[in-house]
Every structure is written in structure tokens, then in C-alpha cells.
């Protein structure tokens, strides 16, 4: 491109529309958050300056720490299972189904859940997990006792299972794509070298899919942390606080208790965490070439 020519302002013109549209709202959001971080909104009265009051309250809020622990369990274990299950299915697909057309068709079928809306997945899993739902119907049909899927003890785990059902296809897809990009010569050389299946995996397959696994894990970690649709639609954080993760807690503070000042503080903190995870994702994604 004729860089440095009279059209050197072209790059900026290209970015203007997107920047104007985005920052017209995001600008206000960030300013509002920073402002509200140091204020309280008593109903009917103008906002009061409370200095670090909100932040101090956040650090002492035991309910928040409960939510953090639940998020780590939900997002951490959920991501781990999704990536391992996704890898297993991806490698099984490539090694077992040699016919390209059939393998691709099966892959596309497996990708169905992740194309659905989180809300539609919630519809599906509510009907499965609700006490008189299908899961318990099958259990009772087999003569077993109904299982308390949405009880305080199991609600969060059931939500994790629902997310695993919907989002395992993402690691499956990324790892399948990475595995298919491996040049066939690499396996031919391994065959000529008479390597065992395990060694072949260690020196041929793993180096190529390692980045896809890391990228998939980070992607899932971010999205399990920032998505709360299932929590609103299936358990609404309940029973009690049993399935209340950070996101839902912020949601409840914002719209349940309408505790504006504190909700903004929580929102700001969670934004920072999201940006940090994204930074790791960006480096991992760049290094995968």
C-alpha cells in the first residue's frame, strides 16, 4: 500500500466510524463506573461521596468471597472437563473415522449445542433437571430414586454440567482444526520410524495441538466467568446463595437490591479481572503461529 503518501490519513478514517460508535456508549460507561465507585445513591436523594467506602465494603463482603469460590469451582473445573473431553472426542474423530465426508458431518452434528442461545440451553436443561424433569423420569423408570439436581448441594454442579453439554464443542472444534492442520508427512515419518502410538502423540500430535488447547481453555474460562444467562433462567442464584457466582451477585446487586454504588464497584473489579484474563488469551493466541 502506498504508505507515507498523501492518503496517510486513510488509516485513521477507516477506524473513525467504529471508534465513534463504540466510545459513544463505552466512554459513558467507564466514566459512570469510575464516578459511582466513590459515591452512594440513597433512593430519592442526589448521590453522596463516600470515598473508599464502597471498596472497603467490597473487601469485607463475605457473600462476595462465597461467590468467588463458587465461580472458581464452576469455571475452573468446567473448563478443565470441557477441554479434556473436547480433546478426547476430537482425536477420536480424526483417528477412528477415516472417511472425510462422514467425519465432517459427525463433527458438525457435535457442534450443534454451542450454536444455540444460552437461553435455549437453559430451557433444555431446566426441563431435564427440574425435580419432575426428564432426568428423574428416566431414573424412576429404572427403579432408582429421583436425584435432587437443583438442590442447594447440587445446583451449581448441574449448571456446570449444562455448560459442559453446551460448550465442549468449542475445544472440540479448535483442537480438531489444529489436529487437521498437521501435515500428513509428519505422521508418515513417524510411521516410517516405527514409533509407538504414544510416542507419536508426544512428538507429533501434541506440539501442534498444544496451542489450541491453551487458547480453548482461556476462551472457555473467560466466557464461563462472564456469562450468567443460565444462572438467571434456571436457578436465579438459588436455592439461597447455592448457585450464586460473581456475575450473578453483581446482577442481583444492580437490579435486585438496586444498590447502585456497590454494584458499580463490583462491576469495575470484575472488568479488571476480565481484561487480565484477556491479556493472557491475547499472548497465547499470538504465539500459536
Amino acid at each position: 500500500m502506498p504508505s507515507g503518501s498523501k492518503s496517510s490519513r486513510l488509516p485513521i478514517f477507516l477506524q473513525l466510524p467504529a471508534t465513534v460508535v463504540i466510545w459513544s456508549l463505552v466512554g459513558y460507561v467507564l466514566l459512570w463506573l469510575i464516578f459511582t465507585l466513590f459515591h452512594r445513591y440513597p433512593p430519592g436523594k442526589p448521590p453522596e461521596f463516600v470515598g473508599l467506602g464502597n471498596i472497603v465494603a467490597m473487601l469485607q463482603d463475605m457473600r462476595l468471597y462465597g461467590a468467588v469460590l463458587r465461580t472458581v469451582y464452576y469455571a475452573g473445573l468446567g473448563t478443565l472437563i470441557e477441554v479434556l473431553l473436547g480433546m478426547a472426542v476430537a482425536l477420536a474423530l480424526v483417528n477412528l473415522i477415516k472417511n472425510e465426508k462422514i467425519r465432517f458431518a459427525v463433527l458438525i452434528l457435535f457442534l450443534l449445542p454451542m450454536c444455540l442461545a444460552e437461553a435455549v440451553a437453559s430451557v433444555i436443561w431446566l426441563m431435564l433437571a427440574t425435580p419432575e424433569g426428564y432426568l428423574n423420569c428416566f431414573l424412576r423408570a429404572l427403579g432408582m430414586k429421583a436425584f435432587p439436581w437443583l438442590s442447594a448441594r447440587w445446583a451449581l454442579t448441574t449448571l456446570m454440567i449444562a455448560d459442559i453439554w453446551q460448550w465442549t464443542p468449542l475445544p472440540l472444534l479448535l483442537i480438531y482444526a489444529a489436529r487437521s492442520s498437521i501435515p500428513v508427512e509428519a505422521y508418515e515419518v513417524a510411521e516410517l520410524d516405527r514409533l509407538s502410538p504414544w510416542t507419536t502423540f508426544r512428538v507429533v500430535t501434541w506440539p501442534y495441538i498444544k496451542y489450541a488447547v491453551v487458547v480453548a481453555a482461556l476462551l472457555r474460562l473467560i466466557f464461563m466467568y462472564i456469562t450468567i444467562d443460565k444462572f438467571i433462567l434456571i436457578t436465579y442464584g438459588g436455592p439461597g446463595f447455592a448457585s450464586e457466582i460473581i456475575g450473578f451477585y453483581v446482577f442481583v446487586q444492580s437490579f435486585g437490591y438496586r444498590n447502585i454504588g456497590y454494584a458499580a464497584t463490583l462491576s469495575f473489579a470484575t472488568l479488571i479481572v476480565a481484561a487480565i484474563i484477556t491479556y493472557f488469551f491475547w499472548n497465547a493466541f499470538k504465539r500459536r503461529e
Partner: protein, 367 residues
Amino acid sequence: MPEIKVENVSKLIEGKPIVNNVSMEIPDKSFFCILGPPRSGKTMLMRLIAGLEMPDKGRILFDGEDVTALGPVERRVAIAFQDFALYPHLTAFDNIASPLKAMKLPKDEIRRKVLEVARYLKIEHRLTHYPSELSGGEKQRVAIARALVKDAEVILLDEPLVRLDYKIREDMRAELYKIQKEIGKNVILITGDPFEAMSLGERIAVMNEGRIVQLGTMEDIYERPVNVFVGRYFGVVEMNIFDGEIVKMNDVASLRTKIFEIPLKNARNLPEGSVKIGLRPEHMSVLELAGKREVNFRGKIVLTEVVGSDTIVHIDAGLGELLRVSVPAIYRRQIGEEIDVGFDIENLYIFSSKDEKLLARGGDLIG
């Protein structure tokens, strides 16, 4: 048909000078060649002349008029790219017609011009095909047709043959020469292959690390390379370079190496001490085939490399570096065999060992 003048042009990418203060003149209506190894800046120089890039310093003049700020179209320059750069979603016909469509010419005139240039380049039977269906040679012809069709003043060919199969390159070379002669436009060829430059370029600019190291006709550069780099690089087979010494005892001078010594008549302006001696493989011969030469010595064969109708024999004659001898026939011998080779003194090149500049040719020293 412009006479192109490049004045102190430099271009930096991330602070590093890719083209470093280049000045040269490209005569009108000639087959000019810019030759250089990879990353020597030759492609960037082409892009600067074409107007695809703007120089950080210096000017470019077409027939005395400053075109530095103008783009390729205003400079009436056409380019055939190394990777053909054909539009994958257009047929060969539309690819060639593209510059004419940009000029908004009437449809029938476009059709006439495209058919004319396609017939000229012998691809009229492939016009309805898409680039993915064409062979390497055909893609190159379409790229050249697209450059010729809008009768630009200057045609730039960026390493046009490097992607082609070895044998097709042989025929395309002759054709490129014929095309330039017939269309009479200014053609600038950018290439990394010295043999291509030797057979096509009437005037050649040899580049290295962003600078023009030497500019002249094929004979000038072949006979009088400015330094060891040009000597080695500019030749069908790489020039042999080995160490030697100028010895001066009571006003009798001689050129001494590990295995031979040559008395010199007028070596007044040659510095005493070590020098680098250059000897082209084609100036050497095998005694068994071509008889004795002025200087003869023996060497052990390391490899006989058959290059189609000729053979390059690599021998170890005790000079440190291996010597290459060019034999005009298929000449296959066992590795390790001893053979006698020779050369005439006039073909020698003497380079200074300090700055590797050419000091003299063999002929100057014994004349």
C-alpha cells in the same frame, strides 16, 4: 518512453535502510536489469520506481519530471509481480482487461486490446479460465499480458521467472527478450539469478545490502567486477576465490600462491603482500580435453556436477577453498581421482585482501 533518473533515494523500514542512498540512470527503451541476492533491496527499489512505495529521502524523475509523489498510474508504469498477483475471482480475460476497465475504456476496445495481447503471448485459448486452472507458465503470461495491455511507458518485471519450472524458464527468457525488442518500451527486470541478468539485461545494476555496488553492461561487470562480491555473484558458475601474495624482490615482482607462482612484468601500482585471486570456472579447463594452458596444476576430484550439457568439476588443489572447473561436455569421473587442470594468466582477477576491491586483471600484469 521515459529516461528514468533515481537521485539519492533511501527507504527505511523500522529504522533499517532497505534502500540506502541509491542514485542511477535507466536509459530509455532499454532492457535494464536490477540484480541482487535475496534481501538486497532490489524489490523495494522496484516498488519505489513503480510508485507503490514513497522514498524517505531522494527523488525519482521520469524524463526530468519529478514523479516521486505520484502513484503507478500517473507514472504510466505497469508491473508483473513475482507471485503473478492475479485476481483469483476473475477469469484470465478479466484479469488482463482490469487496467483498461479502470481507465473506463469502451467494451469493444477493451476486447480488441485484450485479444491482441493474448494472441501475442499465445494464451488466447485460455482466456475463459480462472487463475487456479492455469499452469505456472500460463499464469506468468497472463500477468505479463496485464502489464502490456495498457501500453504503459515502463514495464517492471519482479523476478518473473523464479516461480516457473526449470525448463519453462529457459523458453520464457528468450521470449521476454523478444517482447522487449518488439514493444520497444522501457523494461526493468528485477532478478536474483545472475544467468538471467547476463542473458537479458543490456545494462545491469548489481545491488547488495541496499546499495548499487556496480552498474554497467554485461561485459563491463563480467570483465571488471568492482569487488569480490560482484565477481563471485555475477557469473554462470560462482568464481573461485583463493589467497595469494604479491612478492617484490629487487624490482622483480611475482604473484605467488600455495601451488603456483607467476612472474609479473608491470606490477608497479600493485601493493605488496597478500591479495585475493579470482578465477572463473569457465576460464579453466581440463588438460585431458583442452590441452596444456599457461599455468597448469593437479587436483583431486570431490564432485562432478553434470549441468545438462556441461559439467562442473569440484577439485581440491590444496588452495584451501575447493576449485570449480567448467567442462563443456558430460564428464563423469570417480570421486578422489586426480586430474590436471590449467588456465591462462590473462583471465586472472586480483582483488585487494583489505577492502576486496578489484586491483587488476591478469592481462594488465603481463601485458
